[in-house]
Symmetry: C2
Subunit: 209 residues, 2 copies
DNA sequence: GTTGTTATTACCTGAATGGGTAATTTTTCT
DNA sequence: AGAAAAATTACCCATTCAGGTAATAACAAC
């Protein structure tokens, strides 16, 4: 009773795009959620379409795939990004990984390897050098420590003390509406939607003790 | 514009009790919130009376002062407990400190020292060996790790993931009311009143990661 | 065999939260 | 000087939370 793996594709080459779409549509356990021919369009679409895996071409017209990664991660932090590349150029791959991609697939790879790579990701692996690559990735990735403004930090700390919005407002001599605004902003930066989750994430990231 | 320091006394010796009550009533900046002649009565009263400092006689009829400490701490975790003792018996003092008392006052102490001792506490000190005692206390105190039941832990973890009550209810196959009950119980054990504070405390205590 | 803890559910109420949108002011960076 | 980011406030709305009270059942401890 597994759910389909939802896949989104960003690829400008028509032939490759159609071939990938065809393969995914036909393969059991996979579902296509959409596709774009450039990063800019994709970023607009990805605000609304949620997927498990993104196949992202490295070379795109306009913004290239690697530049797009952090922007996409902003939208969907938990989306697993796999780069699509023609040859295994280590510089390219490394900067992709450093930016937040989880692995890469070679464009010439046979369908079965492609599917295996995608399934690997969902099981916590990283395609191509399955396990080792993953640990390298973790090491190299620049720990995306969210930057909260000074004011947001003050709010966060009081939040963690168990204060509610109006209590914080009083202590900081501003209106409760302001505190709400700050908290919304904190949620956005930490990618959470509740106070409880915000505190946990903030503690894990070392923002508060 | 300082607020009065609110003091509660538990002392079975009538003479000493009256003498302390008199002193506190007369002294500027101090206010008596109540008194009991034994721990059992006090525990009932302390459910309703909030104070800053509790003067607690070591030797009491029935439950002694030291045994009473953890029970009182359950009711008012932030209450500063000062033991009243006749002689500086280190065993007694140490077990009091280990149980959660913050310091001790000798019964023969002149009024001014008494007041100073109490003021010390409110300023983060610990009477008798003002600063050093404090750090010793912290070291010796058995870290009262709250014991959450298995079910409460499950709820806590899901809470920290940012789930709300009804989401947790679904995942655990019980009603949202049940989750509410568990969360209330968690709050009681952790001495908090909000989710945010619960998460922080739980993380600090190592209950969750 | 009674007492205590845990788990479960329910109902009520007022307060608080999270999300959306929008606008102004101040700071900061370029 | 002009653009971008941070801080401020406001209003609306539906949902959620926190606290209080209460009751039942299962199970362990004493």
């Amino acid at each position: 009773m597994e759910e389909d793996i939802r896949i989104y594709i960003i690829e400008d080459d028509e032939v490759i795009m159609e071939s990938l779409q065809f393969l995914i549509k036909e393969e059991l356990g996979f579902r296509l959620t959409g596709g774009s021919v450039n990063a800019e369009d994709a970023i607009l679409a990805l605000k609304y379409v949620h997927s498990d895996v993104l196949l992202l071409d490295v070379s795109l017209p306009g913004m290239n795939g690697i530049e797009a990664i952090p922007l996409i991660k902003e939208l969907q932090p938990d989306l697993n990004i796999l780069m699509l590349t023609v040859h295994e150029d280590s510089d390219t791959v490394f900067s992709a990984l450093r930016n937040g991609a989880i692995g890469y697939l070679l464009k010439g790879t046979p369908p079965n390897n492609l599917f295996k790579g995608i399934r690997d990701v969902l099981q916590g692996g990283a395609p191509i050098s399955p396990s080792i690559a993953r640990s390298i990735v973790e090491t190299f990735r620049v720990e995306n420590i969210p930057v909260l403004s000074q004011r947001e930090m003050e709010v966060l700390i009081k939040l963690s003390d168990g204060n509610n919005n109006s209590q914080i407002a009083k202590e900081l001599f501003v209106s409760a509406n302001t505190i709400k605004a700050h908290i919304k902003s904190i949620y956005k930066k930490l990618h959470v939607h509740t106070r409880a989750a915000a505190i946990r994430k903030a503690m894990r990231k070392g923002l508060i003790k």
